[in-house]
């Protein structure tokens, strides 16, 4: 049926309700066809497992027997679970170490690149760490940070200082993992912010210069406010990402030493694939999801994400 006949057939337009005409007219159908691959992918790999996870969280499935509905029992358990609260604390600590330092360094890098050189080679080098697989980066740093053979400690000892235990110390473990991820992401984040800087009209800086602003005043009063949209994006995505830290922990500390790096995702992993408490593990995942929704919402409100300058 050609488009012409479809829209000109009197019967068609009289019998179909408005919403059908809106969502399923021939043009819309073509749109659906284009969206189908993505929708299928999203459905199969995201939506369906997520909903399934939610339903499993209300059961006591241990992968051996059939799941039995237990209501909110898993959730009640995790509220009283010290492991869960520790995981929350440890993960928050990680985010607090990781995000501020990473963002500040990224902004500085972006501004430096913008002022000094727009060289593509430099930008390429900057993004290299982000291109390396997570696991490779973790292994790399695992060896760099090794107390006896690691390059960092060789240099430190050579300068006459004490060995830095990095990943072996309960106090330094989370900051060390944060360091690894800062190293990995700062270049990429810097590039995003650098792109944002290009959208700022140069004549604003000239006007600022004529008005009498110093470099710092221009950065604080012009650059940062106008970077707000980019910073919102960067902060929201990196905080969400940070809360889900896993790979680095899995390669380096595996939750130790003494649960110092037992982050939420590690806890989920342990319960799901070591102890086979699927019900409990999915309950923790749901809680993590809710936490991230709340955090993102608060963030976006605070940063007035919906507004454009």
């Amino acid at each position: 049926m050609s488009i012409k006949t479809a829209t000109m057939q009197p019967g068609y337009s009289q019998t179909q309700p408005a919403w059908v005409k809106r969502w399923f007219n021939p043009e819309a159908l073509t749109a659906w066809l284009f969206l189908l691959p993505s929708l299928v992918g999203f459905g199969v790999f995201y939506a369906v497992p997520a909903i399934r996870g939610l339903t499993v969280s209300f059961t006591n499935w241990d992968m051996l027997q059939a799941p039995q509905f237990v209501g909110l029992q898993n959730y009640a358990r995790l509220i009283q679970d010290p492991d869960f609260w520790n995981a929350l604390k440890v993960t928050s600590l990680y985010v607090l170490w990781n995000i501020p330092i990473q963002t500040v360094i990224a902004i500085l890098l972006a501004v430096l690149m913008d002022r000094l050189t727009h060289s593509s080679i430099l930008r390429g080098i900057l993004v290299l760490p982000w291109l390396m697989p997570n696991v490779v980066v973790a292994l790399l740093w695992l060896w760099l940070m090794d107390p006896t053979l690691g390059f960092i400690n060789v240099v430190v000892k050579g300068m006459g200082f004490q060995t830095i235990p990095f990943l072996g110390s309960p106090d330094l473990a989370i900051p060390s993992i944060a360091l690894i991820n800062i190293w990995r992401h700062m270049g990429y984040t810097a590039l995003l912010i650098f792109a944002g800087l290009q959208t700022i009209d140069r004549s604003l800086y000239e006007a600022g210069g004529v008005d009498g602003a110093s470099e710092f005043q221009m950065f604080w009063g012009i650059t940062l406010p106008l970077l707000r949209p980019v910073l919102v994006f960067v902060l929201v995505t990196s905080i969400i990402g940070s809360f889900q830290i896993f790979d680095t922990v899995a390669i380096t500390t595996k939750g130790g030493p003494v649960s110092a790096t037992k982050v939420i995702n590690w806890l989920i992993y342990e319960h799901a694939f070591v102890r086979f408490n699927m019900g409990y593990a999915t309950a923790i995942s749901v809680v993590l999801f809710l936490i991230l929704v709340v955090v993102s919402f608060i963030q976006m409100r605070l940063m007035r994400a919906g507004e454009v300058d």
């Binding site: 006007a207 004529v210 008005d211 300058d309």
Partner: protein
């Protein structure tokens, strides 16, 4: 107070000379316009004065002070940018107050100045709004207001009317002129539009390819352009140019245009006699060409036989596009003219107002 002086100023970008030996003395309280086609160096010259561009060679003075190495904020200037450059995240009030806040001006003084400037410009009711909530004309006024509150020695304006629609442009031109009179400060104004230049400037500096061709009052530029470029740039529609030969006939000096012959009036004989027999460029403005039926009294008449190609009815006048000997030219004639397309008309040239230029040097011969 604040005169401005450019002394042998050059601006080079590698091999390209954007500003070539620029020398100007701007008097205090003057409204000087830099005008010229794109790429002539006018904006660059202004920006060098503002301190936004390095000076390759030469000196710039504001008052008696050499400002070559002085930062823009210390030159006591204020600038209105072509794109207005309003801080998008600040309100109109904050935009105008920004420069004063940076200078640690007392709050009460800031408030007084901002409100006063807003009142002069008629934008008091906009003080709380952000730039994105304003129209183009309103933003332009905020940009001007931001400059006014600084009470600078010199106002610099870089094509401030370019982004306004035609009607608003005409209105704002008059407002800027009034502002200049009211503030009594030196204004330096850059534009590519010769109408803006003619209507606003006390003096106009005509530039092309980095070179200053002529600097004079508007009337002088119109009456006595120094060369072909200035003659063709000032005045709209542009001056008509003809390749002619100066010949002698019956003891009289005649401008021979091929298809027309014009007697040289006695008051110009002395200057032109040395060029007898030479090829020259004749310039006549469209407003100095008249319909023979409606020639104003007192015109010393020469005749150019021509044919009407196109007519444009302007209401207050008629533009005739004419052909004479294959050469096209324009005449602005009385609206009562009966000339129509295809008609043959003996166009009257006002021989009291013609210009002769040397063919090689393009300089005017007076």
């Amino acid at each position: 107070m604040a005169s401005v002086k450019y002394e042998h100023v050059f601006k080079r970008y590698g091999e390209v000379i954007a500003v070539n030996d620029f020398n100007i003395d701007v008097a205090d309280k003057e409204f000087l316009v830099f005008v010229g086609p794109s790429g002539c160096g006018k904006s660059t010259s202004l920006r060098m004065l503002a301190g936004l561009e390095e000076i390759s060679e030469g000196n710039i003075y504001i008052g008696d002070r050499l400002v070559n190495d002085v930062a823009p904020k210390d030159r006591d200037i204020a600038m209105v940018f072509q794109s207005y450059a309003l801080y998008p995240h600040m309100s109109v009030y904050e935009n105008m107050a920004f420069g004063l806040k940076l200078r640690k001006t007392p709050k009460a003084e800031i408030d007084r100045r901002v409100k006063e400037a807003a009142q002069i410009l008629g934008i008091e009711q906009l003080l709380g709004r952000k730039p994105k909530q304003l129209s183009g004309g309103q933003r332009q006024r905020v940009a001007v207001g931001r400059a006014i509150v600084r009470e600078p020695k010199v106002f610099l304006l870089d094509e401030p009317l370019s982004n306004l629609d035609a009607k608003l442009r005409v209105q704002t031109r008059a407002e800027i002129s009034k502002l200049h009179l009211r503030l009594g400060t030196t204004f330096i104004y850059v534009t590519h539009d010769q109408t803006e230049a003619m209507t606003m400037g006390t003096r106009i500096a005509v530039m092309k390819d980095g070179i200053l061709h002529q600097i004079d009052t508007p009337q002088t530029l119109y009456d006595r352009p120094a060369n072909v470029f200035v003659a063709g740039f000032i005045g709209s529609p542009a001056m008509n140019f003809f390749d002619v030969r100066l010949t002698t006939s019956d003891g009289k000096l005649v401008i021979d245009g091929g298809s027309f012959h014009l007697d040289v009036p006695t008051d110009r004989l002395k200057a032109l006699q040395p060029y007898a027999g030479k090829g020259l460029v004749l310039g006549i403005r469209p407003e100095d060409l008249h319909d023979p039926e409606f020639t104003p009294p007192g015109v010393v008449a020469g005749h150019i036989p021509s044919e009407v190609d196109v007519t444009e009815l302007m209401g207050s006048a008629v533009n005739l596009y004419l052909l004479s000997g294959g050469k096209q030219f324009v005449a602005i004639v009385d609206p009562r003219t009966r000339a129509r397309v295809g008609n043959k008309v003996d166009i009257v040239a006002n021989m009291g107002n013609f210009h002769i230029f040397d063919k090689q040097t393009e300089q005017a011969i007076r």
